[in-house]
């Protein structure tokens, strides 16, 4: 095997090996440098891997040399490669941003272990993204979950401990449900490989066991991806976690959970069963709408900007769920595209907030007053990413909402389109509150603020520029999303046909 054949495993293996090494360093700075190198290496490899997938088709890697279904397979298709690119890029950017921010959030004695936990969380998310084995998803989910509980609990505020504990309980229930679901599938098919499951499921899909397995899996992933009304752990977790952790998790963790749900829905159960035979598409649309409206409304009244953005994340997950629920090429592509766009906006927003917290030690809205003049570059970043969050034309956020609205109109669902626009209006209000305070408020006495250091601004602005770039050029992002969904759908159609042929 040549070097490039090992790309799929290397993306995950590099941070996996860097994590224990980082934990041995006594100097936080050395651990940071190692983590930074590992994430950038992973990112570069994932770029090469995506290129490989786009030219030669799905890339497969057999762990231990055992062919599936006996061994574990890594399987990278367009969707997997795309999500992997998001995860690795955000990890690399957040770590580039994070050294000073983490230095101010954590005591020196814990920093190297913190970086090790960060790398483990990244390892888990990357592993979940490209594995082709249902049980392997669970194992890497556990790695990423356990480490993210620990990361969240490191917040400066004591309430971080409570938030992490709440997430631990909800997340463990989610993981257990996922495990039970996988167990039911295994019981009826005798296999754990995703492709093999997809082949063997239609024959037994009309059984209580598979239906129960489906329910357990969707509720389990629903908890992990903070689908309304299972989102209660998210606002506190993101609000009280260290800034770098909020930025990383908000941009990647829910995304990977949504991706895994899509994998199970379309890649294993098949389009016909998951979104046709089950009334799951209607449920997703309903819950998505509820999330958009309720979470946006709650966000409007938040005083802590981090918490506001966390509620906004719940709403954005709602848009994605709605797109999936539309169960059409356009709707699903819009959902996948929004995965990518939302990672860029929330990454930029949470990092910019981290820069503010680094300078003024707070992220409460009244303390932001007058920052537009004192931290012009940071606030400009928040403004542009905020516009993208609302969905103003010329930004990435506009593109995904545009296709989402197109998807609803295709099916003649006018009221849905109107409600999506209303959701954007609510986003306008809460983003407007931040900008109003920053640009028109009078600075509070006693708060010193200078522009954030350049090392923080560069990664923030890379994402901000990406928000504009992908708002104007949709070939790469929407093209990939469309291709990724098209790859999943025909296979799904074939299984539907097979199911119909059989009595």
């Amino acid at each position: 095997m040549s070097f490039s054949d090992h790309f799929p495993v290397l993306v995950v293996l590099i941070p996996l090996l860097a994590a224990p090494l980082a934990s041995l360093f006594t100097k936080g700075r050395a651990a940071w440098a190692l983590a930074l190198a590992a994430t950038w290496a992973s990112f570069l490899i994932s770029c090469l891997l995506l290129k490989q997938v786009l030219t030669t088709g799905t890339v497969r890697y057999y762990m231990g040399g055992w062919k599936p279904p006996w061994g574990i397979e890594y399987r990278v298709d367009v969707l997997g490669g795309f999500v992997l690119l998001i995860v690795t890029a955000i990890a690399a950017l957040v770590l580039t941003f994070g050294r000073r921010s983490i230095k101010s959030d954590l005591p020196e004695g814990r920093r190297s272990i913190f970086y090790a936990a960060f790398l483990l969380c990244f390892t888990g998310l990357a592993g979940m993204t490209i594995t082709g084995d249902a049980f392997n998803v669970f194992v890497f989910l556990e790695i990423s979950s356990l480490s993210s509980y620990a990361l969240i609990s490191m917040g400066r505020d004591r309430r971080a401990l409570n938030a992490a504990f709440q997430y631990l309980i909800m997340g463990s229930i989610g993981a257990t449900f996922i495990l039970i679901g996988i167990g039911f599938l295994y019981m009826m098919t005798g296999t754990l490989n995703m492709d093999d499951l997809a082949q063997r499921l239609p024959a037994v899909s009309d059984t209580n066991t598979i239906r129960a397995g489906f329910a357990f899996l969707t509720v389990g992933f629903g908890l992990k991806l903070a689908l309304f009304p299972l989102h209660l752990w998210l606002p506190n977790a993101y609000a009280y976690a260290p800034s770098a952790v909020s930025a990383f998790l908000a941009a990647t963790a829910t995304k990977v959970a949504i991706y895994s749900l899509l994998r199970f829905l379309l890649g294993i159960f098949g389009f016909g069963f998951a979104l046709g035979a089950m009334p799951f598409d209607m449920i997703l649309i309903g819950l998505g709408l509820a999330a958009i409206l309720s979470a946006s409304l709650v966000a409007v009244f938040q005083k802590n900007v981090k918490r506001m953005l966390a509620y906004s994340s719940v709403a954005q997950v709602g848009y994605i769920a709605l797109g999936i629920g539309l169960a059409s090429q356009t709707g699903l592509s819009a959902a996948v595209l929004h995965l990518f766009n939302h990672a860029m906006m929330k990454g930029a927003l949470f990092m910019a907030l981290g820069a503010i917290a680094f300078r003024i030690g707070s992220s409460r809205i009244e303390n932001l007053a007058g920052l537009g003049k004192r931290m012009p570059f940071t606030m400009a970043a928040i403004a542009i990413a905020g516009l993208s969050l609302i969905g103003i034309p010329g930004t990435a956020g506009f593109v995904s909402k545009w296709f989402l609205v197109l998807g609803t109109l295709e099916q003649g669902l006018w009221p849905l389109a109107a409600l999506i626009l209303f959701g954007s209006f609510l986003a306008l209000i809460y983003v407007g509150r931040i900008l109003e305070a920053a640009y028109f408020g009078t600075p509070k006495d006693g708060i010193e603020a200078r522009e954030a250091p350049i090392g923080m601004l560069i990664p923030i602005w890379i994402l901000v520029i990406a928000n504009i770039y992908f708002g104007l050029h949709t070939d790469f992002s929407y093209g990939l999303a469309e291709r990724a969904v098209a790859d999943l759908l025909p296979a799904a159609r074939a299984t539907v046909d097979a199911a119909e042929v059989m009595p």
Binding site: M1, M188, T191, N208, R211
Partner: protein, 319 residues
């Protein structure tokens, strides 16, 4: 019968507010589960459950209990919603089992699809008599690496939250359990046997039930007992805490390094066939190495977690 005992234990554990009794009931629960696994002929799983669930978890929970109060505060929460959630989950589980293959049905898909190859081919492909070991360590060796990472992550999480206090051996000279001569002599003799047994479990995993996970736990138990009887200071002199972190990392390097070695030899990650002059020999060597890696990491992490909890001061000792 066993299931009924299990249900009763669980119910009593929920009702009691004496946490010490609850911890003991958890131990009983785990032990019953282990017996149940044994009854299902899942010897390796039973062994793990007994060592981890009934053994070391109980010790860890007790050392946590030392830090808090023995009795649970009266709860004020409304139990309706949790009860509803549990009820629905239970109903879904029963609903799912209605169409499941009958218990022990040889025609069930799990016995028909992958299992035949594991049963028939693994003795010649992997060459290890214990099929469970071939599946865990070779066919699905990557999952096992993932599990070791989960354990390592747990250790890191505890370190991040609690940290290990070094240099201030506040239990110096004071024995954890009263000054009992008989206990000290018995334990001193016992420790040698525990360690020997752990090594047996470690290296005999290819042939019978056992392997790195169980061995690591048992080996850690020897140190835990020493710590309990002879005090923390003595135990830490034998195994300094800063070495535990290095050991935990070393176990992972050994495991993943074995996989990387096969990559350098032109095979896939964790393809041990590359390591020997013939594939079966390579598989043997690979499994030996990765099981050793598992054992070292599990041992170090368990002991780390124990130290993190036992090293914390009680609230009344702080003042």
């Amino acid at each position: 019968m066993l299931l009924t005992c299990l249900a009763i234990t669980a119910l009593v554990a929920i009702r009691r507010n004496d946490l010490f009794a609850v911890v003991m009931l958890f131990g009983i629960y785990s032990f019953l589960t282990a017996v149940l696994f044994m009854n299902l002929h899942a010897v390796d799983v039973a062994f793990t459950e007994a060592a981890v669930g009934a053994g070391i978890s109980t010790v860890l929970m007790l050392s946590t209990l030392r830090l808090t109060k023995r009795y649970e505060a009266a709860r004020r929460r409304n139990p309706i919603l949790p009860l509803l959630v549990v009820g629905v989950t239970g109903a879904a589980l029963v609903y799912g089992m209605l169409d499941a293959p009958r218990f022990g049905d040889p025609m069930a898909p799990v016995h028909q699809h992958m299992a035949p190859r594991f049963v028939q081919e693994s003795p010649t492909e992997v060459g290890v008599p214990n099929m469970v070991t071939s599946v865990l360590a070779s066919y699905r060796g990557y999952d096992t690496l993932g599990e070791v990472m989960v354990i390592f992550t747990a250790g890191l999480a505890v370190l991040l939250l609690l940290g290990i206090r070094e240099g201030q051996n506040h239990r110096l000279g004071r024995l954890a359990i009263g000054d009992t001569l008989v206990l000290r002599v018995v334990v001193k003799v016992l420790i040698a046997f525990i360690m020997l047994y752990a090594l047996y479990v470690q290296f005999h995993g290819d042939f019978g039930a056992g392997g790195g996970f169980q061995a690591g736990v048992i080996f850690a138990t020897a140190f835990v007992i020493y710590d309990l009887i002879f005090g923390e200071a003595d135990a830490r002199r034998v195994m300094p805490t800063h070495w535990l972190g290095r050991l935990a990392a070393m176990g992972i390097f050994l495991y993943a390094g074995t996989g990387v070695a096969s990559m350098f030899l032109g095979h896939a990650f964790l393809d041990y066939s590359a390591l020997g002059h013939d594939p079966v020999h390579g598989q043997h060597l690979g499994i030996l190495l990765i099981e050793l890696g598992v054992g070292i990491t599990v041992f170090a992490v368990i002991l780390t977690i124990f130290h993190a909890f036992s090293g914390m001061r009680r609230p009344d000792q702080v003042s």
